[in-house]
């Protein structure tokens, strides 16, 4: 019931988001057709015909209405280069999904691992080192990390290709995923650490220890499970962000994903592409949040959904 209601909520959220994004792109200053000609002259008749072809000569509500009409028949429209937006996105999304999943796995596994150790050894050398290291990673912008790793690993050491080739296979995405996940990794470490060190002093932990349970069982089953709620919330939101494509990281490593696509589409004023990408993103976000909510109930049986 809860799940169904959440899915139904998706509908107004989706239409609201597309309307908003459509309007934003519509309202950005600049003339996409003028940009298409690139400052060279264009025959007036050709210009008028192109405007009509992309409905750019219509007022906003008619443009949006026509877009919705096509959307109902699952026609996402065409790019200025005459390709189907659906096909363009269909090529970009698997790449970004691979990248996002790798980055997320990286930050979840290493983040929780280091966070738990740091939280259990609060105030010790390992804890301080991890804290300082994560602070540095958070402070340094992603593009610096990206360029440095690309140059060191890709060019000087030659361990990996500095950019990703067309098919974007898993192994070539390791380096970009690392860069992409690094900042979030630092947050996950800090969240886990704080949560763990707080729960260590909780009553139920003392009870569990007093019952004579092994340290391992206390940590994994009692402390960790209860400490994961803020971490899972963060990871869920982060998955949405990662699926939106990482414009900077994809740019540095030339990954043919959603970030690159969105960047170009916004620059060119290509409304159908922008709206479609954002629309899909909204769906991803809502579903990721739903999964997070369901995970809460699993992690903490006190939480119930009706």
């Amino acid at each position: 019931m809860f799940t169904l209601r959440r899915f139904l909520q998706l509908i107004p959220v989706f239409f609201g988001a597309t309307l908003l994004v459509y309007f934003l792109v519509f309202a950005t200053p600049g003339d996409p057709i003028a940009a298409l000609s690139g400052g060279k002259p264009m025959a007036p008749a050709v210009e008028a015909a192109l405007r009509a072809q992309y409905n750019l000569d219509q007022p906003f509500w008619i443009q949006y209405g026509l877009y919705l009409k096509n959307l109902v028949t699952l026609n996402l429209g065409q790019t200025f280069s005459g390709q189907e937006v659906a096909a363009v996105i269909g090529r970009a999304y698997p790449v970004t999904a691979r990248l996002a999943i790798m980055a997320l796995a990286f930050e979840a596994i290493f983040g929780v691992f280091f966070g738990v150790i740091a939280g259990l050894r609060k105030g010790k050398l390992f804890d301080s080192t991890v804290l300082v290291a994560s602070l540095i990673v958070i402070a340094v912008p992603t593009f610096v990390l990206g360029f440095v790793l690309q140059l060191v690993v890709g060019v000087q050491l030659g361990w990996a290709k500095p950019t990703v080739s067309g098919a974007a296979p898993w192994n070539e995405l390791i380096l970009p995923a690392l860069v992409l996940g690094l900042v979030s990794l630092a947050y996950v470490i800090r969240l886990t650490r704080a949560s763990i060190s707080e729960n260590m002093n909780a009553d139920y932990v003392r009870t569990a220890t007093a019952k004579g349970l092994s340290r391992r069982r206390v940590v994994v089953v009692h402390i960790l499970r209860n400490s994961l709620i803020p971490v899972v919330t963060f990871l869920g939101a982060d998955l949405g962000a990662l699926m939106g494509g990482a414009i900077v990281t994809e740019g540095i490593f030339n990954v043919p994903g959603v970030g690159n696509l969105l960047y170009k589409a916004i620059l060119n004023g290509e409304t159908p592409t922008v709206v479609a990408v954002v629309g899909i993103l909204v769906i991803v976000f809502v579903i990721a949040n739903l999964v997070v909510d369901l995970l809460y109930a699993w992690l903490d049986p006190r939480i119930r959904y009706v």
Binding site: L36, S37, G82, F147, L151, P162, G251, I252
Partner: protein, 544 residues
């Protein structure tokens, strides 16, 4: 042809990367013997913005591909001189009526013969308004263009084109144009096979051409790569010396630069701003730095009241003399450009660096200040008015050099001057097209074909398509017309240079510098030659 917007919009991290690329690079020249002709060469490019149709390709991403998979009547050699491709001869008595004879036995890559009809049909298709081809204005000099290009016109044939027989056709222009033969190597003038017209959009995704290469099966992988293989039906002067060319599509030339550094890409035709300082040490003997047919200017629109009349002319000259071009080139572009001495480009036939009146392009702060004061005596500069230079700042380096230029103008003329930043290229074009500028604006031109006229007519002729500043001078128009009716290209060039003397007085735009191409290549290929337009001669590249 213009740079695509994405290729210009890369400077996200330019400054930082500048420091980082300093430490990369390796390379040894040696082993230049022979060369392997079967290996495929990889080169940088951007996603073609339109379907691959000759008259619809107006940016470099598509242009690079089109020029390799198609060939026209003529092509340009490394210096920009025309050489016959499909043309047996192009003859004219009066620069207005041309008789064009084709070589016999030439075919498209699918084996169908290339006839005069293929040319005439392709040009008519490109010109007709109903086909909405971006390059349609390229046919404007052909008689009958005005009718097929009119709004709602259903006509699709220009009366100036007539097929005589399979190998011959005639072209009648609306007026004499001596440099018409020079244009015929441009993308818009390529022929199309009969099969193109059934579904031009589908053809544009998988074109059949007649150039030194052809598109590999499924060769256009959108946003990823364009793969070309050798077309063995091709018999022209640009025969491929390698096994094919794969264009890898990049959104940022920074990524491409690191790829060439690690031999992951063979040729890069545009060193990113972040690499300009160090590419010579990064690549040692594997780079070029040479001028190409393009320039940078600053338009001062003639609709600005302060820049009209005699006082306006003086102000334009004062501003031009107040700019220390060499200093900007040295400090911001690391010396990789050349100060402009006129309005065209030094790589063109007929270029003259010593035109009378070109002193106005030389830096002279004292003279500039005196000139500005003289103009003020006629009609004073409005108190507190700021001289603005509008520019899009999504192109790397724009912001830096225009700010520097504004500072020079402010210091040397004692007025306020500043950059008026516009976020994106499309917004800037919108302002320019609607004539809404309140000051000067960044401009520049990249030649479509190697001709002085291409730098003058389309930009400064009254009512011309790219005359952004609305410049109009009957004396200049008359000179242009005279140059076009000359019997030969050489005679025409002399007159075009005379016309530049008028421009040097009026300064509809202030010429700044000539563009240069900075290209680099990997250890896997032998020396790469770059042509008159800054594009590598891909067909000529051999692998080691």
């Amino acid at each position: 042809m213009r740079f695509s917007r994405t290729s210009k919009a890369l400077g996200v991290a330019a400054v930082l990367a500048m420091a980082l690329t300093a430490c990369g690079g390796s390379g040894d020249g040696g082993g230049n013997a022979g060369g392997d002709t079967s290996k495929v060469i990889s080169a940088n490019s951007t996603e073609p913005q339109n379907g691959l149709l000759p008259a619809n390709t107006n940016e470099v991403g598509g242009g690079r591909v089109m020029d390799l998979i198609f060939t026209g009547l003529v092509s340009y050699d490394v210096k920009g001189a025309i050489q016959n491709e499909l043309a047996e001869s192009i003859k004219t008595e009066d620069s207005q009526n041309y008789t064009i004879k084709l070589k016999s036995g030439e075919t498209f890559s699918d084996g169908s013969p290339i006839t005069a009809q293929n040319f005439v049909d392709a040009w008519n298709f490109g010109a007709a308004a109903k086909n909405t081809q971006l390059n349609s204005y390229f046919f404007e000099s052909i008689k009958g263009y005005d009718k097929v290009s009119a709004a709602d016109s259903t006509l699709d044939k220009m009366e100036g084109l007539k097929v005589v027989d399979d190998q011959t056709f005639t072209v009648e222009l609306a007026a004499p144009e001596s440099d018409f033969p020079l244009r015929l190597g441009y993308t818009a003038f390529y022929p199309l096979p009969e099969s193109a017209y059934k579904d031009p959009a589908a053809f544009g995704q998988d074109p059949i051409g007649n150039g030194p290469y052809k598109l590999d099966t499924g060769g256009w992988q959108h946003n990823v790569a364009v793969k070309l293989v050798v077309n063995d039906k091709y018999n022209g002067p640009r025969k491929a010396k390698n096994g094919g060319v794969t264009f890898k599509l990049y959104n940022s030339t920074d990524a491409a630069y690191t790829d060439v550094q690690s031999d992951n890409l063979d040729v890069l035709d545009q060193v990113p701003p972040s690499g300009l300082q160090n590419f010579k040490t990064d690549f040692k003997d594997r780079f070029v730095n040479q001028p190409y047919a393009g320039n940078a200017t600053m338009t001062i629109p003639s609709y600005l009241p302060e820049f009209k009349g005699e006082a306006g002319q003086m102000r334009r000259q004062a501003i031009s003399m107040a700019i220390d071009r060499q200093q900007i080139i040295d400090k911001i572009f690391y010396g990789n450009k050349k100060v402009a001495a006129e309005f065209t480009s030094p790589v063109l036939d007929g270029y003259d660096a010593n035109l009378p009146g070109s002193d106005v392009l030389k830096f002279d702060a004292a003279k500039a200040k005196a000139m500005w004061e003289k103009a003020d005596a006629i009609s004073p500069w409005p108190a507190g008015k700021v001289f603005t230079i509008t520019s899009n700042i999504d192109g790397a380096g724009n912001k830096e050099y225009i700010t520097a230029m504004a500072n020079q103008i402010a210091t040397n003329l004692g007025i306020k001057a500043e950059l008026n930043p516009i976020a994106t290229f499309k917004e800037m074009r919108d302002l320019v097209n609607k004539k809404k500028l309140t000051g000067a604006s960044r401009a520049g031109w990249q030649a479509d074909y190697p001709s002085l006229y291409n730098f003058l007519g389309p930009l400064y002729g009254t009512g011309a398509g790219s005359n952004d500043g609305d410049y109009s001078n009957p004396a200049f128009d008359a000179k242009l017309k005279e140059g076009l009716s000359a019997k030969t290209v050489e005679a025409g060039n002399k007159i075009f240079n005379d016309s530049q003397e008028i421009l040097l007085k009026d300064l509809p735009v202030v010429p700044l510098w000539y563009q240069a191409v900075q290209g680099v290549w990997s250890n896997n290929v032998n020396t790469v030659q770059f042509g008159w337009n800054g594009v590598p001669l891909y067909y000529d590249i051999t692998a080691k």
